[in-house]
C-alpha cells in the first residue's frame, strides 16, 4: 500500500498504553523511516518515555503492535541485537559497586546470550566505545564518582557496544554539561551517517532544528510526525503543548 514501505525502521499501529484506566498513549500510529535522527517531543506527561518503553517491549500495551524492519515476530529475544536502549541516567543506583568498564561491557551481554562471559575482544570493543565518548581514562573509575554528564556518556558507550541498528534514548541531554551535550550530538550525527536510526526523547524545543532531521510531536496521541522543516512549526507545537480547543473545533 505504502510506496516507501521497505524503508521503515519502526512501524507502530494503533498502540494504546494505559496505567489503570488512564491512557498514556492513545491509538498511536507512527512510522519511523530508517536512517533518521528523530526527536520525540511533547509536554510533561505526554507519554514520551512511555512511547519509548512500549516500542522496546518493556510495557504491555492495551492494544496495538510495534514492528521493526517489517518483521512479524517482534519478540525482544530476536531483536536484541538490533535495538539499543539508553535509559534516563537517573533510573539506576549509581552506588552499585562497578567500574565504568563493567557498565559498558553490559552492552554486549545481549549478544553473548545466557551464561557466556565477555572476553578479551569484548573488553577491547568496550574501550573503543569509551574512546568514542571521550571517557577512556575513566575506564577503571567507580561509577558513583561520575558527574551527570559522565554518567550519560557511559550509558551512551554501553549502547554503542550493542552495535545496534536502532537507538532509543530517553532524554540523553538531561542534566549534562554543554561539552557533553555537544559530544553527544556529534555522536548521534555519526550514527545517522552510518545509516542507523536514532530516536531521542527530547525536551529542549530550541535545539530541535539543529540536532534532528525528523521530529514527532506527541501528546497522548501523535500530533504530527515528519521532517523537521515540514512539521516543526508553531501551529503543531501549540497543538501539542495544550489547546484542546483546536481538536474540538476540528471534530465538530
Amino acid at each position: 500500500m505504502e510506496l516507501y514501505e521497505s524503508n521503515y525502521a519502526v512501524q507502530i499501529e494503533d498502540l494504546t498504553v494505559a496505567y489503570d484506566a488512564k491512557p498514556v498513549l492513545w491509538d498511536i500510529d507512527l512510522d519511523i523511516p530508517q536512517g533518521k535522527l528523530m526527536a520525540v517531543i511533547g509536554p510533561n506527561g505526554a507519554g514520551k518515555t512511555t512511547l519509548l518503553k512500549a516500542m522496546l517491549g518493556l510495557l504491555v500495551p492495551v492494544s496495538g503492535t510495534v514492528r521493526f524492519f517489517h518483521e512479524t515476530d517482534n519478540s525482544l529475544r530476536k531483536l536484541k541485537n538490533k535495538v539499543a536502549y539508553v535509559p534516563q541516567s537517573g533510573s539506576v543506583d549509581w552506588d552499585f559497586p562497578a567500574t565504568v568498564l563493567d557498565i559498558v561491557l553490559m552492552g554486549c551481554y545481549g549478544r553473548l546470550g545466557l551464561i557466556k562471559r565477555p572476553g578479551k575482544k569484548d573488553k577491547e570493543a568496550a574501550m573503543e566505545c569509551l574512546q568514542k565518548v571521550g571517557m577512556t581514562e575513566y575506564a577503571g573509575r567507580q561509577i558513583s564518582q561520575l558527574s551527570g554528564g559522565q554518567q550519560q556518556r557511559v550509558f551512551l558507550a554501553r549502547a554503542l557496544m550493542q552495535t545496534a541498528d536502532i537507538y532509543f534514548m530517553d532524554e540523553p541531554f538531561k542534566g549534562v554539561d554543554i561539552q557533553t551535550e555537544k559530544a553527544i550530538v556529534v555522536l548521534l550525527k555519526e550514527l545517522k551517517e552510518s545509516g542507523k536510526t536514532v530516536v531521542v526523547v527530547h525536551h529542549d524545543l530550541q535545539t530541535v532544528p539543529d540536532y534532528f532531521d525528523w521530529v514527532t510531536l506527541i501528546n497522548i496521541k501523535v500530533i504530527a510526525s515528519g521532517p523537521v522543516e515540514e512539521v516543526f512549526h508553531e501551529q503543531n507545537l501549540k497543538k501539542a503543548y495544550r489547546s484542546t480547543g483546536n481538536l474540538l473545533k476540528s471534530a465538530v
Binding site: L58, L76, P97
Partner: protein, 307 residues
C-alpha cells in the same frame, strides 16, 4: 587457648564449624545480591515466617529430619512472601507494614503450633525450639552434607548466571531490553535467597537469620567498589563469623549460636564502617580535618560545609 586448640581438633566441632562456615558463606554471597537489590528486610520476613513451616512439617510427618523440617520452612517462607507481595499489589498498604504484619502473624502461628506439639504425647518439641535462636551443636554430619549440597547448587547457579544477575540488579529494564527474561531471573534470584535463609535457620534461628544476609554484605561493600570482590569478601566475613560464633558457643555453656554469630558479624560491620579505606567514617573525618587546615592556610575561616 588450650581449650581452643582442643576444640578445633574435636571431630564434632569440625563438623559444626564446617556447617557454620558454609552457612556464613552462602548467606554472605546471596546477601550481597539481596542488599544491592534493596531487599534487605524481606529476608527478615521470610525467616520469621519459616517457623510455622518447620513445626507443621513435624506435625504432619512426625520426622525431625532436617531436610523435611527445612522443606516445611521453605514452603511457609514462600507462602509468606506471596502474601506480602499480593497485599502490596492489591491494596494501599505499604511494603513495610505488610512485611511486619505477615512476619509477626506467621511467627505467632509458629508459637501456637509449638505449644500444640507440646501437648502431643510422646513428642519432644525440644528439637524444634532450636529453630528460634539456632543451636549449632545440634548439627549432625548429615545436616552438614545437606548444607554443602544446597551451597554447591546455589554457588553453581550464581556462577552460571553471574552476569545476568549483575545486569538485572543494576538495571532491570535495560536487561529486559537486551532480551533477558527479567521476570524469571527475578524469581530465580528470590528463590535462591530464600534457600540461603532456610539453610541457615538451624544454626542461627528464625529471628536473627536476616542479619546474616545483611551484615556481611554491608561490611564487604565498604572495602571495595568491585562487585565480585564484594561478593567474595562478604562470603569470607560470613564464614569467619560463622566459625567464631560457633566456637564461642561451644566453649561457653548456654551461649546460643545465633546471637553469638550475630555479635561477631556486627563487630565486623562496625569496624568496616569506621575504618574501611575510602568510604570509612574515620577517613572522611581525617579528610575533612585536612581540608579545614588547608582552607585555614589559604586564609579562609576553615569552615567546611557538612556533607
Amino acid at each position: 587457648m588450650e581449650a581452643l586448640i582442643y576444640l578445633f581438633k574435636d571431630y564434632t566441632f569440625q563438623t559444626v564449624a564446617l556447617g557454620s562456615a558454609i552457612l556464613g558463606l552462602i548467606s554472605g554471597v546471596l546477601g550481597s545480591f539481596a542488599v544491592l537489590r534493596k531487599q534487605s528486610l524481606l529476608g527478615d520476613g521470610v525467616s520469621h515466617a519459616a517457623l510455622p513451616g518447620v513445626v507443621m512439617a513435624f506435625i504432619l510427618t512426625g520426622s525431625k529430619d532436617t531436610e523435611i523440617l527445612l522443606l516445611g520452612a521453605l514452603i511457609s517462607g514462600l507462602i509468606a512472601t506471596y502474601f506480602i507481595i499480593n497485599i502490596v499489589k492489591h491494596t494501599r498498604i505499604k511494603f513495610d507494614s505488610a512485611l511486619a504484619l505477615v512476619m509477626s502473624v506467621f511467627f505467632g502461628l509458629g508459637l501456637v503450633l509449638l505449644t500444640y506439639v507440646q501437648k502431643i504425647p510422646n513428642s519432644n518439641q525440644a528439637g524444634l525450639k532450636r529453630f528460634i535462636f539456632g543451636q549449632a551443636s545440634t548439627l549432625l554430619q548429615r545436616d552438614v552434607y545437606f548444607m554443602v549440597i544446597c551451597g554447591v547448587i546455589l554457588l553453581v547457579f550464581i556462577l552460571l548466571f553471574w552476569k545476568e544477575f549483575k545486569l538485572y540488579i543494576f538495571d532491570d529494564e535495560y536487561a529486559k531490553s537486551l532480551g533477558f527474561p527479567a521476570h524469571r531471573l527475578n524469581l530465580l534470584l528470590s528463590f535462591m535467597i530464600v534457600m540461603a535463609i532456610i539453610t541457615g535457620l538451624q544454626t542461627v534461628g528464625v529471628i536473627l537469620m536476616s542479619a546474616m544476609l545483611i551484615a556481611p554484605a554491608v561490611a564487604a561493600r565498604q572495602w571495595t567498589n568491585r562487585f565480585w570482590v564484594m561478593v567474595v569478601l562478604s562470603a569470607l566475613f560470613g564464614a569467619i563469623s560463622g566459625i567464631f560464633g560457633t566456637a564461642a558457643s561451644s566453649l561457653m555453656a548456654k551461649l546460643p549460636t545465633g546471637p553469638a554469630i550475630v555479635v561477631f558479624i556486627s563487630g565486623i560491620v562496625i569496624f568496616s564502617v569506621l575504618f574501611a579505606p575510602g568510604r570509612g567514617i574515620l577517613q572522611k573525618v581525617i579528610h575533612r580535618k585536612n581540608l579545614k587546615l588547608f582552607l585555614r592556610d589559604q586564609g579562609g575561616d576553615g569552615n567546611v560545609p557538612t556533607v
